[in-house]
């Protein structure tokens, strides 16, 4: 079955406004339409790239819409792999780096100087690296905060520790227990959390695994048995079930529980800070450090990761593509993405240039957590399977109360089936 064949678009100078004779043509796909704030940032970044490298490179951006359930952009990439016609540079979600690299859809970037590497947050470099080679650089980073309602904790007389001394699971469970009667009175729950379908579950809750000394996959990404279903992970799963069982969280999600002052804690993305500031000024917001395992010894564990730029394997101009990737993920673009779309940037300099990360304690806390303790999601070509398996296990153990070990073993089986493709030869 070979429908494959290079169908790469031939673009000649003059075909596109701005593409002049003597320039090298670089096509780039982004996963957002031009109309969105994010899309506009990319458009601006590409424009400034073309200005900067006028006469040398010309980058031509295409916007490909993506819907909530992941359709659209990824369908298009998948189909283009088959039909040929991938661009020189494309965006991809952080956890997919391994799969794309393993399957030869993207190629390693040209070497970066130490200085260039040093600009990026460690989590970004980590996310973009597979098999010791750097494939992708993101312009955005993300983080999840353990938000708390200052007024409620004060009322309960609970002190919040600093980033280097987070609550352990046991401590946190005690706090929840303490909050329970108070929150019952408010017709709420100690913590506003859910195990949502999709990517969010692994994103929010895998840190509990890492901070417990556990892991989901082996370092090379090719083994899960003994990792995914390790005893440590069983502990974590059971921990979540306890929270549910004790009714510290609502079994079914309730809209705006935290925002309306009926929950003391909430796990949510960094954007939540902005949302609360803008829409719920009554909530006195604080950011606590992510909860750790009882034996935590300071290793990285907090959620990170976002879409990144990579050079497709179809590009024969890896130098140019790398330039474009660097530019798109660079400081200037990072500042822009914050200003326009309120996404966290990916470089230290960018954070430095944005006042709010110095002045606002909550943003500052998030930045600190990210830069010090950020941990990328598992790097394995079967990531999608790992992610869904995690979510499903969490759901059936946490909510369903099933036996954690059995569930995790089942997951391992399912993931192994997918891994077979890579481990065959």
């Amino acid at each position: 079955v070979s429908l494959t064949g290079c169908q790469k678009k031939e673009v000649k100078p003059g075909d596109v406004a701005g593409y002049d004779e003597g320039e090298q043509y670089l096509s780039i796909w982004v996963h957002s339409i031009e109309d969105t704030l994010e899309g506009q940032v990319y458009r601006e970044s590409v424009d400034s790239f073309n200005e900067k490298y006028n006469g040398k490179y010309f980058a031509d951006i295409e916007f490909i819409p993506r819907n909530d359930s992941g359709g659209g952009y990824s369908d298009k990439v998948n189909s283009s792999v088959l039909s040929g016609g991938l661009p020189d540079v494309l965006t991809l979600d952080g956890p997919n780096v391994a799969a794309y690299a393993e399957n030869g859809i993207i190629q390693p970037l040209a070497d970066l100087t130490e200085e260039e590497r040093g600009e990026y947050l460690e989590s970004i470099l980590e996310q973009g690296t597979y098999d010791d080679k750097l494939y992708a650089l993101g312009v955005m980073e993300s983080s999840v905060g353990l938000y708390y309602n200052k007024d409620i904790l004060e009322e309960a007389g609970i002190e919040v520790p600093d980033a280097d001394h987070p609550w352990t699971r046991t401590e946190f469970m005690d706090i929840l227990a303490k909050l329970k009667p108070i929150m019952d009175e408010k017709k709420g729950y100690p913590i506003d959390m859910t195990f949502p379908v999709g990517e969010a579950s692994i994103y929010y809750y895998a840190p509990f695994i890492w901070a417990n000394g556990g892991n989901l996959v082996s370092d090379d990404g090719m083994t899960v048995d003994g990792y995914f279903n390790s005893e440590k992970n069983v502990e974590v799963m059971n921990y979540f079930h306890q929270i549910v069982e004790n009714k510290y969280m609502s079994e079914a999600p309730i809209e705006n529980l935290f925002e309306s002052g009926r929950a003391a804690f909430k796990f949510d993305g960094a954007w939540e800070v902005n949302t609360i500031y803008e829409n719920y000024p009554d909530v006195n917001l604080g950011v606590a450090p992510y909860v750790v395992g009882d034996d935590w010894d300071g290793e990285r564990y907090t959620p990170t990761g976002s879409w990144a730029f990579a050079a497709s394997s179809e590009t024969d101009n890896i130098e140019g593509a790398t330039e474009l990737v660097k530019w798109m993920s660079g400081v200037e673009s990072g500042v822009r993405i914050w200003n326009e779309a309120k996404s966290l940037p990916s470089t230290y300099k960018a954070f430095d240039q944005i006042d709010i990360f110095q002045t606002d304690e909550n943003y500052k806390a998030l930045y600190e957590q990210l830069s010090k303790y950020g941990h990328p999601r598992p790097k394995t070509p079967v990531y999608p399977q790992v992610s869904t398996s995690f979510q499903q296990a969490l759901e059936s153990v946490g909510l369903g109360g099933k036996d954690a070990q059995t569930e995790l073993d089942k997951s391992v089986e399912r993931i192994n089936a997918k891994l077979e493709r890579y481990t065959r030869e």
Binding site: V1, S2, L3, T4, D68, S69, G70, G71, S74, D75, N78, S79, V81, L82, A99, Y100, N103, G104, I105, P196, V197, G198, S250, E251, A252, P253, I254, E255, P384, Q385, T388, Q392, E395, S396, L399, G400, R414, A417, K418, R421
Partner: protein, 299 residues
């Protein structure tokens, strides 16, 4: 003369045939071919022929089997509810003398709204503190988890789906009802038929061909259930709302396992085709039997 007609026929059918070939037959054939391979979307060059392996695997796959039964459950709930609901609505609207036009539009409105939009709205309805639970609280019923519980999620989605689609079938039935010769009812009135007898002896038999049509479209629709669970529950909780088409979609698009997804699609299609045929044979068979009886009596 005959030859001319053949040419004319092909000329008329031609454009559709070309497009059908390109966009339906070819994809189906490709799907069939893929189903015997381990075609992986991210790495098409590495495709191997694997024989029946995929077919064996999917039937060993618990999730596939589960999604299969979920789908059947959806069909079992949706088909009778939607068919009967549509019929009842149509009968009522046909009968009612006030605001007929308004009703025709009102019940159809969910049909014209996109599934994604409707699903989002219903998530609010079903939410623990949503309208429905608020309403239940008025009757002293404790809050129900609905789409957040493995037990209730599937029926909840099925009900929403019926709600959304029933207007379409209602319109079909309404058309059928308006086609029934009113003189038949007058004749039945002369023949001292009660309201129920009129329904049983005139309305139902007259609507029968339409019922078959509606039944098939609703069944196929229910089999193709995807967007509602995707938006509302993501197939959960505990895969209780994970459907066949959802599985196909995830396997193919999210997990890039095109070979496997193709196998599922083929199995799915075969299953529905068989069902349709059985259903056709059943209804036809009945008629033929009657025919035979009639002949026997005539002799």
């Amino acid at each position: 003369m005959k030859k001319k007609e053949s040419i004319l026929g092909m000329a008329f059918f031609g454009p559709a045939l070309v497009l059908l070939t390109l966009f339906l037959f070819l994809p189906m054939v490709l799907t069939l071919v893929f189903s015997f391979t381990d075609y992986f979307a991210l790495n098409p060059d590495m495709t191997h022929f694997v024989g029946l392996e995929n077919y064996i695997n999917i039937f060993k796959d618990e999730l596939f089997v589960k999604s299969f039964f979920n789908t059947v459950k959806f069909v079992i709930i949706i088909v009778p509810c939607q068919c009967i609901g549509a019929l009842v609505l149509a009968l009522a609207i046909n009968k009612v003398t006030h605001c007929k036009k308004y009703f025709k539009v009102a019940f159809f409105i969910p049909v014209v709204m996109s599934l994604a939009v409707v699903s989002t709205l219903w998530m609010d309805i079903y939410s623990p503190e949503g309208i429905l639970n608020t309403l239940l609280a008025h009757f002293g019923i404790s809050a129900q988890p609905f789409i957040h519980s493995a037990k209730q999620a599937l029926p909840s989605i099925a009900i929403m789906s019926v709600w959304q689609g029933v207007g379409y079938q209602m319109i079909i039935f309404l058309g059928g009802l308006q086609n029934i010769n009113p003189a038949l009812y007058e004749a039945a009135e002369m023949d001292h038929a009660s309201g129920w007898q009129k329904f049983k002896d005139i309305t139902l038999p007259e609507l029968k061909p339409l019922c078959v049509f509606v039944f098939i479209t609703v069944t196929i629709g229910a089999f193709r259930m995807l967007v509602q669970p995707m938006v509302m529950t993501g197939g959960g909780p505990d895969h209780s709302t994970y459907t066949l088409v959802y599985d196909i979609y995830e396997t193919g698009t999210m997990n890039w396992e095109m070979g496997l997804a193709s196998t599922m699609a083929i199995v799915f299609t075969i299953f529905v085709v068989i069902l349709t045929i059985i259903q056709n044979v059943l209804t036809k068979g009945k008629e033929e039997k009657k025919h035979v009886n009639k002949k026997a009596k005539n002799i």
